[in-house]
Symmetry: C2
Subunit: 393 residues, 2 copies
């Protein structure tokens, strides 16, 4: 039993290495895992037998002696379906082991209105298309979805989806039923998944403490503490968007309160500060402001500075609390941050205690708008990566 | 080697059970640890041999059959020295295994001025007195200290001690040298240690996610995430006191900025709000305000409400971020919180998303003013509890 558990853990660790870092030779795996080469050989043979990895001779090592076999993830054969319900779009993708996006479908999402059946109908149709388009030899090992709201981790229930007005909607269960693949749909909050994606494959690889801020209509957060996502008692932690930063004359927030971080730095705050009409919204409208600022338009530059100061207060508060190695800006904050960076840095200098900001880095999401989708794929791979030898493939 | 490691872990776990929960019979330990009674017998025999536990027959179980022996921590024989450098006092204690405070010394600390040699001189004198007063058979197994500032975990260096104006002072090393016991002094931030004490022995036993707020001149924080203290990259996380809550007309803060949580709810904020003269300070002055409020004095009640609203904003922000099971108020917040609770609860209702506040409890520190000292003792016991069979006793 103990031996069996050690074998499971080693297989899990080995598969995770090639899933995250791509093809690795047996010798490298042995060195990384602190195991001898015969143990590595037994593990890779077993993982190859169940179809999760492929082994091949490296083309030309340029070294004498028998070359160490290269172990690569079976990206063409093993895949997950990943979904992303974002404020402006619905995305579905087939993602191969190793994190390769093999195929994708995308639709514009209207801002107001779509209810659960409408959203699930689009996603399930995309999912079935992607599934049918996969080669006959390929196997779907999991399904994951990112949702822009508060998710109950156990069953993918949307507890609160402010932009769609969803409260206690069984999104995960319903998508699973409509897909009809016999697989559960694991659902996560978009900023939580974006944080995990940037931590595993993006700007923050190898860091122990990282803050990911995801901007769209509001601002979500995903916070990695000691290498793990901060969940809290119910999985509802990381709600950076409702940190009160402006208690006096704060803007109205979708949560019903005033002066929340997301009310001061979300999409509407920037567009209002730039004097854009109320009918405009979305990424194009945001980019019109940042493009104008890049061209030197004073009103656009001032709007970015104004919003940047509020963002800076939020970021400074978070650095004081978490002493992280990095803060990553995702979603529309990828566009907004460059023009607001001076204000953010000034706030950090003014409000963060010197020892807590000694080494912190500020970065744009390396995965860009695919951070949340990538996080959903990683969530979908979790069961396989945890138990690679007993998951049906 | 694997067997040896399993034995170490089991001995560590068993000793931790009796250290935290007091005398337990072998049968209970077997049930808690999921081990059979012969393994428990071997472990307790070994721990008794090195003098860490004592075994005895329970006085009268009232049950038939051979009673299960009671295993108790050797509190009279095994102790640590714990120190507390708080804003108003210097405390030293001899604390027995099991967490019993066996003996203590205490001195008033002047607010301004004492430098490192002066503070260390008092503490080292107390420490040597306590050591000499211990029975000849007793052994000191560790030394821990709580300090009201930012501490480098590795070596007990005070990176920033705002109230004493200390920057990069080798407090731990110097106290260790002056004590002359040949033991390193482990040092922690007072709010971090208070959080751990309340988590291990106070209001928050068994919780996974807990926020401890420690008020004195300022407000410190200790945050338990997933059962562990949030440290951050350098151990400087949890700085709740410098969360900006009042960016417009905030009070000046000791950090050089304005509108930090501790500037709005620290000692001076309350005393100013209550119209007390600038010469007054300290716990007695705080209690004079809360006593007046209890007697119905309108100005004192209004001062508590005013400060309570700022405290509520800070607490609401933290609940949104951490989704904790409990918030514990320590230090002078033990006195302040009851008169401010209505404001705090109102802010939580207004600013925390409903799903994140479903189950959160608000409590006064169960260990009262000994929370930080208790945390220092627990820090001192850590090496013994981790390696009970190889620590010299």
């Amino acid at each position: 039993m103990v031996q069996e558990e050690i074998r499971r853990r080693n297989a899990s660790t080995l598969l995770r290495h090639v899933h995250l870092d791509g093809p690795l030779c047996r010798a490298d795996l042995a060195a990384r895992m602190g195991l001898n080469r015969s143990t590595i050989r037994a593990l890779t043979t077993e993982l190859a037998r169940v179809g999760l990895v492929e082994e091949e001779s490296p083309s030309d090592t340029g070294r004498a002696g028998r070359p160490s076999l290269l172990v690569r993830p079976a990206s063409d054969r093993i895949y997950v379906l990943a979904f992303d319900v974002a404020v402006d779009r619905l995305v579905a993708a087939r993602v191969g082991l190793g994190g390769v996006i093999l195929d994708r479908r995308e639709a514009v999402r209207p801002r107001a209105g779509p209810d659960l059946p409408q959203v699930v109908e689009v996603l399930a149709r995309f999912g079935r298309q992607l599934h049918r388009a996969a080669p006959p030899s390929a196997t779907c090992v999991g399904v994951g979805a990112s949702y822009c709201g508060m998710i109950r981790p156990g069953d993918g229930m949307v507890r609160f989806g402010p932009d769609l007005g969803w409260v206690d909607q069984a999104f995960g269960a319903e998508l699973g039923r409509r897909l009809g693949l016999g697989l559960p749909v694991l659902v996560g909050n978009e900023a939580h998944l974006g944080a995990q994606a940037e931590h595993l494959r993006g700007a923050g690889v190898g860091l122990q403490n990282l803050i990911y801020l995801h901007g769209d209509v509001g601002v979500g957060g995903g916070i990695i503490v000691g290498g793990r996502l901060l969940g809290g008692d119910g999985g509802y932690g990381c709600e950076v968007g409702h940190m009160v930063v402006n208690p006096y004359d704060g803007r109205a927030c979708g949560c019903g309160s005033y002066g929340c971080l997301e009310a001061e730095v979300g999409e509407r705050a920037l567009l209002d500060a730039a004097g854009r009409p109320a009918e405009l919204f979305g990424r194009d409208a945001i980019r019109a402001v940042t493009d104008d600022a890049d061209r030197g338009d004073p009103a656009a530059r001032e709007a970015l500075r104004h919003v940047g100061d509020w963002l800076g207060i939020g970021v400074a508060n978070l650095i004081n609390l978490f002493n992280p190695g990095m803060v990553v800006f995702g979603g529309m904050l990828c566009d907004l941050y460059p023009g607001a960076a001076d204000q953010v840095r000034a706030r950090i200098a003014r409000n963060v205690l010197p020892v807590a900001r000694e080494h912190v880095k500020l970065r744009i999401a390396a995965l860009g708008d695919d951070a949340t989708l990538t996080g959903a794929a990683e969530l979908a791979f979790t069961p396989l990566l945890t138990n690679p030898l007993t998951t049906p493939t």
